[in-house]
Subunit: 240 residues, 2 copies
DNA sequence: CGAAGACGGTAACGAAGTTCTCGCCCTCGG
DNA sequence: CCGAGGGCGAGAACTTCGTTACCGTCTTCG
């Protein structure tokens, strides 16, 4: 019962030769890129990967610290050596999720022709990203895990400082898009873009997360809902 | 250790003669209006009151079932006889909170001169109501307790059906206001008011609850934030 | 009067996060 | 080469909280 674990190297699901002869290879790799910093990073990454797998696999999309520990083939001891608690693990996952989201959305909007289209694209794409996938994952679009968004809500109310720090990259990008749109005359120019960016993102994120309060029967396709929200955000309630 | 509890009758913090001579009076009252239905209602109400007190008193604004039981001077046994679990207690508090909110907002908007003013009044008032009071309660406006709103979020994602049922009175009222405004030409007439009502209320509620994502320094007064959001909702982002 | 049900008091259970103890092994400095 | 210390695995233990179970009492109703 000493060395049954297979390292499952960081980024992708690496599948190495089955069980028996792993130790030497692993050891070698470890020794080569181990300046004790990278080793730590490797361990941290294994916890993160395990958590991600648990969120994607299980029907529950929720996980306990124990499960993460088992799945990662490490120990509770180590977990609390690298993370201050479950809270920090969630925070790390959240930040990573934001980073990935920013990257993906940035690519998407880059393909749009003008400022208005980019703005619209941002809102709709991010809406879809925050929408919990009811069945098998929507193809073509990565989505935030529900657990992550739930955590975001909690973080926002309990540790606003940490929260806005984690959200910063996303808000930065959106603020930029807003500024461009304002300069191009696509949206009005009076508004405080930073503040509006935060507000709009919150609206998109949480409205996508928990479908609206009014008891919609089965509600239309997510895309329609996204369009509806976009229309409301762009044009407001007022009569033209 | 048999009869130290003082009943603390339902509505207000009733302070009766200290400890010794309570039983008889209490008994009398109980016997008088006890058809076993009212007695149950009385007990339920005592739990609800206890929970409300705990939310308003403590610095935590959070409570455990134990605390509610102790505070209400009843027993765990009874608690689980009347409530299926903490969940149901929260739900009851939530529904009551919504009811009270609807009542209060209805009064407020009735005083406004025209449809647009009523709409605006609704949004701003409800925003303030959902804004957690950072220090001593804001005078003049009752507010939803943070715990309640947090529960609302959770309910919305875990039991959408129950959630929209609980929210219904509020959505009904707002939908009505929206319809009136649309009829009067104050807002555009094309939109699905039920759906929009839900969306807007969600926006107002959750944006007020957890101040915006963008790392606002100390942020202005709640009223200013409410105005900002109202402006965004009414006019949208678009240039006129 | 006697049985049934409501109720209080308290212990106990189970899940989950967190901490602690023990012991192994590897590494590093003398 | 050897001894100390730190990283680490394996659990046990502790804590909080919701929930359930058990026991004894009191009221009530047939």
């Amino acid at each position: 019962m000493a060395k049954n674990e297979s390292v499952k190297s960081a980024g992708a699901g690496g599948d190495e030769a089955s069980d028996g002869a792993v130790s030497w290879r692993e050891q070698a790799v470890a020794r080569s890129l181990d300046s004790a910093r990278t080793r730590a990073e490797n361990r941290v990454q294994r916890f993160l990967d395990a958590a991600l797998e648990l969120m994607n696999d299980g029907d529950t999309s929720d996980f306990t610290v124990q499960e993460v520990v088992e799945r990662s083939g490490q120990s509770l001891r180590s977990f609390y050596q690298y993370f201050g608690g479950k809270h920090e693990l969630l925070l790390a996952l959240f930040e990573e999720s934001i980073r990935a989201g920013v990257e993906e959305v940035a690519e998407k909007i880059a393909q749009e022709p003008d400022e208005t289209a980019r703005l619209r694209r941002f809102v709709i794409d991010y809406y879809l990203r925050c929408r919990p996938g009811p069945k098998s994952k929507r193809r073509g679009t990565t989505t935030h895990d529900p657990v992550i968004i739930e955590f975001a809500q909690q973080l926002l109310t309990e540790h606003p400082a940490e929260a806005s720090r984690a959200f910063a990259p996303l808000v930065d990008l959106f603020e930029e898009v807003l500024n461009d749109a304002a300069e191009a005359g696509a949206i009005r120019s009076g508004l405080a873009t930073r503040s509006v960016a935060g507000t709009v993102l919150e609206v998109v994120m949480f409205n996508a997360f928990s479908s609206t309060i009014g008891g919609m029967p089965i509600k239309q396709d997510a895309t329609d809902a996204a369009e509806e929200l976009w229309d409301l955000l762009l044009n407001g309630l007022v009569a033209r």
